[in-house]
Amino acid sequence: MDKKKQVDLFMQMVLIRLLEERAAELYQDGKIGGFLHLYIGQEAVSTGLVAARQPVDRVITAYRDHGVALNCGIEPKVIMAELLGKATGTSKGKGGSMHMADVSKNFWGGHAIVGAHLPIAAGLALGDLYQDNKAVTVCMMGDGATNIGYFHEALNLSKVWNLPVLWVVENNQYGMGTSIERASAISMMCKKAYGYGIKTQRTDGMDVVSVQKEAERLFDEIRNGSGPQLLEAITYRFRGHSMGDPERYRKSDEVHQWQENDPIGIYRRYLIDNDIATAAELDALEDKAGVEIDAAVEFAESSPEPAADELFKDIYVEETGEVNHG
């Protein structure tokens, strides 16, 4: 990977971090409604995965989706506008925090029912296999999703049909407030794929280099017909499950310990130690990211509300005929 792309990954992670911090403030100000699940602490997982994909590869995830949206190329201002429910948002203000997508960038959402997007991911991969597209679908999920039936139906189907899908479990140790030890019969999520004959890999989800390297290899193998594989990324969310989480289920010591492994800090050191960027250059990027997020908030706040007649738009597609996703 060239130096520019490596530095860009740093920029993406910083943008996610700042976007999420600002979103938390706006939520507390009452400008963002509904639920808000922040990606702070997990930035390296999505950033590394999406960096490894080719444009033809599809990305689909759960409701903790702002970071993934940004990695897939959606501008921070469009993400922020969706959070504020504006007409200029990813989903015209009708999806909100949990339902962002940009089909033109091969980002297929943003799905808020735990595990329900897994069979859909299998279907996306089936569509590519059927049409001989040589594309891989990467489906991200939390550790909590491995306990619901959809996980098992989807993994089984993916193996039976040899679908080009990369299952990624973001193991952040808790499904909402219940630790994996209390909710899952086994703690190593990747072992759950053994029963389906699916090859698995574990990686350090706080290290973007490690995630990206593993993902590149897996994309390559799957594209060349290996069938589905599963990657477990060990990670941690620094904030609560969602805004308003009292966090009675974990101790602050534990949180602080993980925070010392901040994915942005780790990558910053990596870039400096390997002479890819200087501290001053990275500081300058952080400033630049701050300016971009300020502008994103300004854009979102000054964007129009959806028009009243938007309420009844897009319930159904009116025309028949060829579907063109652009």
């Binding site: 948002g89 990813t90 989903s91 015209k92 203000g93 009708k94 999806g95 339902h99 997508a101 940009d102 089909v103 297929w108 959402g109 943003g110 799905h111 029912i113 329900a116 997007h117 897994l118 069979p119 859909i120 991911a121 299998a122 279907g123 996306l124 991969a125 089936l126 569509g127 590519d128 059927y130 049409q131 597209n133 039936g149 959809y150 139906e153 989807a154 089984n156 189907l157 039976v160 049909w161 738009k313 897009d314 319930i315 159904y316 597609v317 025309e319 028949t320 005929g321 060829e322 579907v323 063109n324 996703h325």
Partner: protein, 324 residues
């Protein structure tokens, strides 16, 4: 015009659309090697091959979920659920995903998806395999629900459904597969969301759909001998619900009976009756009457089961009461 069975009509529609568009494919339990549990896809696997006629595990969420995903890539999957009772295992994917994706992402996602499934009782399959939960599915904006009552409508509606870019639940009735009817020769389409008058009449309007259409038609023939001339409006689609022919008929006859196979509470009849009261109250000479399944889980015993599902005699009785 050829006289063919409902099964043949549905099979023809599928076959013709698969020949017409290589993006149309079938997936479901036993649709391939077995030939379909109701033999609707008999011969498809041999002709179209395993790529386009895909046997699945017994896993309804995977079937509907995978169909949604494939539809998003521009294909036109026709997912078959062995019975509508199994659709509950895929409820999340039908109502939380298929019905929502187009709207929720601001119109970006397009799902040309058909889910075919037979429902209805009367075959001694017990409480879990005999339901008519059509109204539940018709509750959700974003989903279309179609339920034909004649072979001709089944063929024309299914062909339209496959060509449409919306998720459609296509409800068949397991006891109608052997029913014969005239089907036009050659290519034809019936628009989704259009009710139709299946029998013109002047004394009373009978609104029905699916299995209760032939049951009602039989009742009408009997009532005609008593001098009661019934106009039968077949809804054909439950969502969108086309009330125009119903209201037009009620304004003419001033009386209405609604016949459905499902339970009365919160059912199709409740919806249609409400709309008649809202839009044609002044035209009514008598209260609207509903004929529906008795409020019990269907029992196995043949006699008990029959007594809970509307029969021709129940329809005759209800119509007589309304015209008196």
């Amino acid at each position: 015009m050829a006289k063919i069975t409902m099964r043949e009509a549905i099979s023809q529609a599928l076959w013709e659309e698969m020949e017409r568009d290589p993006g149309v494919f079938i997936l479901g339990e036993e649709v391939g090697v077995w030939g379909g549990t109701y033999a609707v896809t008999k011969g498809f696997y041999e002709h179209f091959g395993e790529k386009r006629v895909r046997d699945t595990p017994i896993a309804e969420a995977a079937i509907v979920g995978a169909a949604i995903g494939a539809a998003l890539t521009g294909l036109r999957p026709v997912a078959e659920l062995m019975t509508i009772n199994f659709a509950f295992s895929a409820m999340d994917h039908i109502v939380n995903e298929a019905a929502k994706l187009h709207y929720m992402f601001g119109g970006q996602m397009v799902l040309p998806l058909v889910i075919r499934t037979p429902g209805g009782g009367g075959r001694q399959l017990g409480a879990t395999h005999s339901q008519t939960p059509d109204a539940i599915f018709a509750h959700f904006p974003g989903l279309k629900v179609v339920a034909p009552g004649t072979p001709a409508d089944a063929k024309g509606l299914l062909k339209s459904a496959i060509r449409e870019n919306n998720p459609i639940l296509f409800i068949e009735n397991a006891t109608l597969y052997q029913m014969k009817g005239e089907v036009p020769d050659g290519e034809y389409l019936i628009p989704i969301g259009k009710s139709t008058v299946q029998r013109p009449g002047k004394h009373v309007t009978l609104v029905t759909y699916s299995k209760m259409l032939p049951v009602s038609m039989e009742a009408c023939n009997s009532l005609a001998k008593e001098g009661i001339d019934v106009e039968v409006v077949d809804l054909r689609s439950l969502r969108p619900l086309d009330m125009d022919p119903v209201l037009e008929s009620v304004r003419k006859t001033n009386r209405a009976v609604i016949v459905e196979e499902g339970w009365k509470s919160f059912g199709v009849g409740a919806e249609v009756a409400s709309r008649i009261y809202e839009d044609a109250f002044d035209d009514l000479d008598a209260p609207v009457k509903r004929v529906a399944q008795l409020e019990v889980p269907l029992p196995y015993n043949r006699t008990l089961e029959k007594s809970a599902i509307p029969q021709t005699a129940d329809v005759i009785r209800a119509v007589r009461e309304v015209v008196q």
